[in-house]
């Protein structure tokens, strides 16, 4: 006969296993998480940057291109990254004729670097490099590429690198992403979970028999979720400034940050609520949310520049509200850029929110079925 202590232990074991097996959804989600880490995290973090957009320009006068310029521009455009089989171009070179225009495009985020080749009349023959230093990877890659090309050409020109946003530490680059993560966490515990808990506790049954409309329910929950998320995002924003030492350049930047955080909150909350409106059990919702939290955060570019991700992963960033949030916040906080650059992020976030609100309203179950 089995001793009592063993018998009850076995009983608990059997009960847990029965419960585990009775919910295949949770089992699948548990398996999906490590696979996600492997595929997404591995690719998002370890990826090599390719197709970095750089502008090359020839100093004037004279107004005709030097041999150094044409050969270097050609070779820069043909450096490959990665192994032979799937080699990708490191740099996408655009040739400019106007140095000022190239620098404007750099400031607007269209280019990651501008390489200015010396004119024949230059005193020091230096190659000047202006590089977007808001991430820690691009400057060294661009500088390495130029060195390689110049050596190959046998040119002994010195290189002067100007990190246009100064030396930005990784924590400053990464910290901005954490603001988005805070928004997501707050809204998944606030708006989304609150909705499901109400449904689980039967509170929904109480108010579904009133004339309340689906739109009112979804809009009300998104509004309250947005406020909670905003408080979280705003708090983490200050902590981020304190911890990472980022200095706000102007009051206008501060207002822009508030705007971005707010619109990102609307976007993320409507995503979470539209999903939560389909779930009736906390456990299932939480496993899905953990999954979303991971994939959205990893593909947001918080860890590593999005440009380093494989193509298929970059598609996810296109529909990832956190990507637009991270990009907009970095543009303001690290690059001091304004509405002209982040406008597109805000529009994307608003379109995304609108689509999610509609999805949430349409899929919300007005009955108990």
């Amino acid at each position: 006969m089995m001793p009592g202590i063993l018998k009850s232990g076995v009983a608990i074991f059997r009960r847990d296993i029965k419960k585990f097996l009775s919910n295949p959804f949770i089992i699948i989600m548990t398996l999906l998480m490590p696979i996600m880490y492997l595929v997404v995290f591995g690719n998002a973090m370890g990826g090599t940057l390719t197709h970095i957009p750089v502008g090359v320009v020839q100093e004037v006068p004279p107004y005709n291109d030097t041999l150094l310029f044409t050969s270097a521009a050609y070779q820069l455009n043909h450096i490959s990254q990665g192994s032979q089989s799937d080699a990708e171009k490191l740099l996408d070179v655009t040739i400019y004729t106007d140095e000022a225009q190239a620098k404007r495009d750099l400031a607007d985020g269209k280019l990651s670097a501008v390489i200015v080749f010396p004119s024949l009349v230059s005193n020091d023959n230096a190659v000047r490099v202006y590089v977007d230093s808001s991430d820690s990877v691009t400057p060294s890659l661009v500088e390495g590429a130029i060195n390689q090309v110049l050596q190959g050409l046998g040119a002994k020109n010195p290189i002067i690198v100007d990190k246009i946003y100064g030396d930005i530490k990784y924590i400053q680059f990464f910290g901005v992403g954490v603001i988005m993560m805070a928004i997501f966490s707050a809204t998944s515990f606030g708006g989304g979970l609150a909705l499901i808990k109400d449904r689980e506790n039967g509170i929904h049954e109480g108010y579904l028999v009133t004339p309340i409309k689906r739109t009112s329910i979804i809009m009300g929950i998104i509004a309250s979720g947005t406020v909670r998320a905003f408080i979280a995002g705003f708090t983490i924003f200050w902590i981020d400034l304190l911890v990472t030492g980022i200095i706000l350049q102007s009051f206008q930047d501060f207002l822009l940050v508030l705007l971005v955080i707010f619109i990102a909150c609307v976007g993320v909350t409507s995503l979470v609520v539209s999903f939560a409106s389909r779930f009736s059990a906390q456990q299932e919702y939480q496993s899905v949310i953990a999954f979303f939290n991971l994939i959205l955060f990893m593909t947001s570019g918080a860890f590593y520049p999005v440009i380093g991700m494989p193509g298929w992963l970059r598609w996810i960033t296109l529909i990832n509200p956190e990507y637009y949030g991270v990009h907009a916040l970095r543009s303001i906080l690290l690059r001091d850029q304004g509405l002209s650059v982040i406008g597109i992020d805000l529009i994307a976030l608003l379109l995304f929110s609108m689509a999610m609100i509609i999805l949430g309203v349409v899929t919300y179950r007005r009955t108990l079925e």
Partner: protein, 351 residues
């Protein structure tokens, strides 16, 4: 829609024919299907509820009462059949129906973290009660529920009875035409039950039609004008208490307590005129007889003849429970019968 004044509805006597129907149900069926099995929770049900009455849906757990209520309150859609609530079709005019009904579901649905006042205010707003009237209405309801002194305390601190009373008045915040109460006194102590009953009767006096489900016989007997028995999704009887009593062929039940029953005496009693059935369970002899008081002397003679001493004797009209047992062959709480026993008279039926 909030009705600032009570409806002027002519109140007929409960169960009389002249009162118009406020709910009409016509061959309503609800089937729940899953991969493994199909359950018919409501099976071809048809009946009417009259304006101003307290209508009781009585049945054991899982009989289909709550499903029926959920269909009528637009929370579930029927698989087939039709139902009209105050002329509105439940499959087409849900919005209209929701504005004229008040519902108190079986489970507590108040927000435990909010105060009683906040809960009522929330529902008042959902029911479009005008903001100018809302504070007074809330206090009026809290007084009605005897909770005025607890208005600003979280509902989580309330006892079961207090929570239930709050939910009932909450369902009444917009003065609905019809109030649905799903097991309003389940799990309450006797005193709290009586208080809830009083509250229900008070609301009915305000010309509200009340539909309540219960599996407590005394509750249905005490409150309801007409009662319907629901069993396995079907209506097995629907009438006033008085008419339901007539369903049992035996008019009265005579219960006699004994120390030991002589089988010969039992046999002799069966032969007495007007006696319909005799059951002996341990020290209890239950005799059903038409016109019981007239039969007692003959029965006593039998006991004397076989020298069986009588410890106690009582005579009573059959209760709702007796009728239910007669019709279904099982008690409401026990459920010792299975599906096959629905038809045919039960164990206390005529031999």
């Amino acid at each position: 829609m909030y009705n600032a004044t009570s409806q002027e509805v002519p109140l007929g006597e409960n169960g009389t024919e002249e009162t118009p129907a406020i709910i009409r149900i016509d061959h309503l069926t609800k089937v729940f299907s899953s991969k493994t099995k199909t359950v018919t929770a409501v099976n071809d049900v048809s009946f009417e509820v009259k304006r101003g009455e307290i209508f009781g849906l009585l049945g054991s757990n899982g009989a289909g009462k709550s499903t029926l209520i959920r269909i009528l309150t637009t929370l579930l859609s029927p698989t087939s059949g039709q139902a009209f609530v105050d002329d509105y079709d439940i499959t087409k005019d849900q919005e209209k129906i929701r504005s004229i009904i008040g519902v108190c579901p079986q489970n507590y649905t108040s927000d435990l973290e909010l105060t009683a006042y906040d809960n009522l205010e929330f529902y008042g707003k959902l029911q479009n009660v005008p903001d100018s009237l809302l504070p007074d209405r809330i206090m009026e309801l809290l007084k009605m529920a005897g909770l005025a002194d607890r208005a600003y305390m979280p509902v989580g601190t309330f006892s079961g009875g207090m929570k239930r009373k709050l939910e009932i008045v909450r369902a009444f915040i917009h003065r609905p035409l019809i109030l649905f109460l799903d097991e309003p006194t389940i799990g309450l102590d006797p005193e709290a039950r009586r208080e809830v009953w009083q509250q229900i009767m008070m609301l009915n006096k305000e010309h509200t039609t009340i539909i309540l489900t219960t599996h407590y016989m005394d509750e249905a007997e005490k409150l309801c004008g007409r009662i319907t028995f629901v069993e396995h999704g079907r209506i097995i009887a629907l009438d006033t208490m008085e008419n339901l009593r007539k369903l049992i062929p035996a008019g009265d039940l005579i219960e006699i307590g004994v120390n030991h029953m002589d089988p010969r005496a039992e046999e002799a009693i069966r032969k007495v005129d007007l006696v319909n059935a005799v059951t002996v369970v341990e020290h209890n002899v239950t005799i059903s007889a038409t016109n019981g008081s007239q039969v007692i002397p003959s029965i006593l003679t039998v006991f004397e003849k076989y020298e069986v001493p009588i410890i106690s004797i009582s005579i009573r009209s059959p209760s709702l429970e007796d009728i239910f047992i007669y019709l279904t062959g099982k008690g409401l709480d026990g459920g010792n019968g299975d599906g096959n026993e629905i038809s045919g008279p039960g164990r206390r039926g005529p031999p």
